[in-house]
């Protein structure tokens, strides 16, 4: 067996990867296998994260062409690796960057919504959230208040945003791609 094959086997044993995930990884070109190995060793990915990585990488390649090794070298994915972060935060950051590449329009919409909510300037006591992956059309508004004055302040600000059309803009965004 080659050195690369040994390294993959060793990593799979260490992380108790499933046969299926290992076989899938091994089915890639040697260059792609090696590129992913470098990244997963750095991030110490286990079965579930690794499967997500493999799914998303395969999907991006199927859609855009190219190779896994070239994709993993993209600055969006390399940048978080160089940051001084905990391993968990690095995994989160790289995964978020990869998700952005996998779901470009959904990610853009999520970013637009975040920006629109921020622009509403509803204050720290009001939290606006959306269903996961925007699957659904309901917005959840959560207001925290310690007294009537705080509640009134939040409601008045919301009322202003309803009247000037900024709230409508948020709902409209939910429908836009």
């Amino acid at each position: 067996m080659s050195l690369l094959a040994d390294q993959l086997q060793a990593y799979a044993q260490e992380k108790r990867l499933s046969e299926q995930t290992l076989r899938r990884w091994q089915s890639w070109s040697a260059e792609d296998q090696a590129a992913l190995l470098t990244m997963v060793q750095e991030l110490q990915l286990g079965e579930n994260h690794l499967r997500d990585f493999c799914d998303w990488l395969d999907d991006i390649i199927a859609r855009d062409g190219g190779t896994v090794s070239a994709l993993l070298l993209r600055s969006e994915l390399q940048h978080p690796l160089g940051l001084k972060l905990s391993r968990n935060d690095k995994v989160k950051a790289v995964k978020a960057a990869l998700r952005k590449l996998r779901y470009p329009r959904l990610s853009q919409l999520e970013e637009d919504l975040r920006a629109a909510i921020k622009a509403l300037d509803l204050g720290e006591r009001v939290r606006v959230s959306f269903p996961p992956a925007l699957e659904g059309d309901e917005m959840t508004v959560e207001i925290k208040a310690r007294n009537v004055r705080e509640l009134e302040r939040s409601l008045l600000q919301m009322q202003r945003k309803l009247r000037d059309g900024s709230m409508q803009h948020v709902f409209a965004l939910l429908d836009e791609v």
Binding site: S27, D55, D58, D59, I60, A62, R63, R102, Y103, P104, R105, L106, L109, P132, A133, L134, E135, G136, D137, L174, D175, E176, V177
Partner: protein
């Protein structure tokens, strides 16, 4: 499209003389035949192969349906708008092999391509159901667990089904297909009681994802022939697949269909987003490693199935509905397996009850 040719025919002991078996044997004289015992398929070791689903398709097994035939369409999942459709299955599994097909998961433990010999029992069961509710208008389809027509040149089931439904005033039979196998239908008179419907996708998807099916041109030509023979038509843009050129692809497909056919003889058109359980996605990745259908922006929905994320899905529905209304304004349209919220965004209203959709499709008698 190549006509299906099994590697072997297996006949359950006692079913050798069933008319459908005799028809198939006469039309496949060179295929090896084996008589097997009841329940044989559960011990078939060839189905232990890596791709049991594909292996199961290569053998044609004649057996009896020992359960009931008539069932509610499984698309009527709670939380989704349903159209009160009923299904009967004379065949289980399909000679075609679409990469996205739900049967890959649904029949994982029972993939043998089975043909039920007791069509008489089916007709009796359906007849009783229609008689029990004479004022209800039924829509019944055979295309749930198999293609309705792909095996018709071998099995000739249409000769049993079409005359039966032609004689019933409170039911429509829908034969749903991706084939061009309509010759048997042309010999029969449907008397307005049979809708032959095609699942339609742009050629780019047919050619890469719908393995073993008829080309778009073959489907369209078959649709022209059955329409000329007096059948109503239906079209299903289901699954709708998002790919880089989807707007051009679907627009062209719709334009070609309605410029070739008389829209006033089209009973309905449905829309439905590609939807897959996580297990089906895993199977598809394994069986079709080069497929591009998983690369769309699909996310997990409330019913556990993955669909194109809602905003993009709604955009697709609205666009396609717009092109359909432009090409064939009088044709009823509906969506399959969608929430009331998506209905509202696309159609501007939410059906009050499942009956509303059924009534729209049957001219107010659902």
């Amino acid at each position: 499209m190549k006509l299906y040719l099994p590697h072997e025919i297996c006949i359950e002991q006692g079913e050798e003389n069933a008319p459908v078996v005799q028809r198939a044997l006469a039309r496949l004289p060179h295929v090896p035949v084996r008589i097997v015992e009841k329940g044989w398929e559960h011990e078939d070791r060839s189905l232990l192969s890596a791709d049991a689903f594909a292996t199961g398709k290569r053998r044609l097994f004649f057996t009896r349906q020992r359960s009931t035939f008539l069932e509610h369409c499984p698309a009527g999942t709670s939380g989704l708008v349903c159209c009160n459709y009923l299904v009967v299955s004379l065949i289980s599994n399909c000679p075609m092999d679409c990469s996205y097909c739900f049967l890959q998961e649904y029949l994982i433990n029972n993939p043998t391509l089975k043909v039920y010999t007791n069509v008489g029992d089916l007709l009796q069961e359906v007849g009783k159901a229609l008689d029990r509710q004479p004022t209800r208008h039924f829509r019944i389809g055979t295309g749930e667990l198999s293609d309705s027509l792909a095996l018709d040149p071998l099995l000739g089931f249409s000769a049993d089904l079409v005359p039966f439904f032609a004689s019933r005033s409170n039911a429509l039979l829908e034969l749903k297909t991706k084939s061009h196998c309509v010759d048997e239908l042309l010999k029969l008179d449907p008397k307005e009681r049979v809708v032959v419907s095609w699942s339609m996708t742009p050629s780019a998807i047919i050619d890469t994802e719908e393995h073993g099916t008829a080309t778009f041109a073959e489907r369209l030509s078959a649709a022209q022939r059955v329409q000329a023979a007096g059948y109503k038509l239906g079209f299903h843009f289901d699954p709708l697949i998002e790919y880089p050129d989807w707007e051009y692809g679907y627009r062209e497909t719709i334009a070609q269909i309605f410029s070739a056919l008389d829209p006033t003889r089209v009973a309905w058109v449905s829309l439905g987003s590609l939807r897959m359980t996580p297990a089906l996605r895993t199977t598809v990745r394994r069986r079709f490693p080069r497929t591009r259908i998983l690369a769309g922006e699909q996310v997990a929905c409330a019913d556990g199935k993955w669909r194109t994320f809602q905003a993009l899905r709604v955009k697709m529905y609205r666009s396609i509905l717009g092109w359909l209304r432009e090409a064939a304004p009088q044709v009823p349209h509906y969506m399959c397996m969608e929430t009331a919220a998506v209905w509202d965004k696309v159609f501007g209203y939410t059906p009050r009850a499942d009956k509303d959709v059924a009534q729209m499709l049957t001219g107010g008698k659902g």
